[in-house]
Symmetry: C2
Subunit: 217 residues, 2 copies
């Protein structure tokens, strides 16, 4: 058996031409960003007009999965498989405060990928993706909830998006100022930004006597 390829091919659509040092085509890097991001934006074009949908998602191997209602217009349009998709996910890590306004920047990790959309009809994959998605949004949650009924599964449409061409763009570290600006009496550094999960707030209608589960503490 051959090793799986560890990088995506560099294509006309994914080649990073601006600040190429920030670019990466490494699968592990790209997958880690997708796995950390709690939502992505899915873009597609109809008659030269781009549309976008922000949506939750999860990843298995070289596909991401999004779900919605079988009644959703855009899910049904995408399910035809005739519309190429572009997906992006961005993690903001910090505000980079340089001595000059010009060299201000942000630290971030972003992915943009291009792929094909398919409607998932395999029941096992539907179940697996919804379990993975639920546990991505709240690790440990799936085993603690009332699982979907047959009717609820039937109301849920799952779409797969193949990660065919992908690149990441990443900036890390402190400000890079012009040499002469380092002598200025101006504070410089990075203000880190974090997406923080706060203390859960119980539902007003929570049945008395139910403690916050360990996975949410």
């Amino acid at each position: 058996m051959s090793e799986p390829t560890s990088s995506f091919p560099v294509t006309d659509k994914t080649k990073i031409t601006r600040l190429p040092k920030r670019g990466s085509y490494d699968k592990a890097t790209i997958y880690s960003i997708l796995d950390e991001a709690l939502f992505c934006t899915l873009a597609y074009a109809v008659d030269q007009q781009a549309y976008q949908i922000p949506t939750g998602f999860c990843r298995i191997d070289d596909h991401i999965y999004i779900h919605g209602s079988v009644g959703s217009h855009y899910m049904r349009a995408l399910a035809t498989g005739n519309i190429p998709a572009c997906v992006s996910a961005t993690l903001l890590d910090g505000i980079v405060l340089a001595r000059s306004a010009f060299h201000h920047s942000v630290n971030y990790r972003s992915v943009v990928f291009f792929g094909k959309v398919s409607k998932v009809t395999d029941k096992d994959l539907l179940y697996k993706a919804l379990e993975l998605f639920t546990n991505k949004m709240c690790p440990g949650r799936w085993d603690d909830v009332r699982l979907p009924t047959d009717n609820e599964w039937k109301e849920t449409m799952l779409l797969s998006l193949s990660i065919d061409e992908a690149s990441a763009k990443i900036r890390t570290g402190g400000p890079k100022d012009d040499a002469e600006d380092y002598a200025l009496d101006i504070w410089a550094g990075v203000q880190p930004i974090r997406l923080t999960r706060m203390t859960p707030e119980k539902d007003e209608l929570l049945k008395p006597g139910i403690a916050l589960p360990p996975y949410l503490r």
Copy 2:
């Protein structure tokens, strides 16, 4: 003088058909989401293929402004004004933990808008937008830094995107479960999510004796 219109028109492109109660066309609502979001994704189509760019931005009235290098390929392509744009910005507010897997959700505020792109040639607007953008990323920063030189201004391209058709989609509040599920012994509620600005970390090359400015404390 007539009052400015307080809502965007509902159009074929922006009408919320899925869960319409979550939709809003109110300008104040849409602007407040855009003003809070630290980045947006800009989508456009070339030959039926959608592309996306995550980017920082600021808003003045019914336009947003993005900037980049005059050498950027996509900025130059968009500056022609011939490519219609779609922009989205999303704020994630919480993970909604229902008693059933099916009714899990997220609290969020998102905006999608459609508009035209123009290259800004007015110098006053260029300066104003960059000042506003810098202070959006770090309130109070502009008055504390080395301002751009003539050459730095010349290297900076500013694009305006008109907010022509826009809608917001918002979910707030706790889980909504099926009536019979409220009797289950399952914890339910919301885990709030916040984008948090952490304590700034000084640059390794910071000149000694410069204290963290008050606006960063």
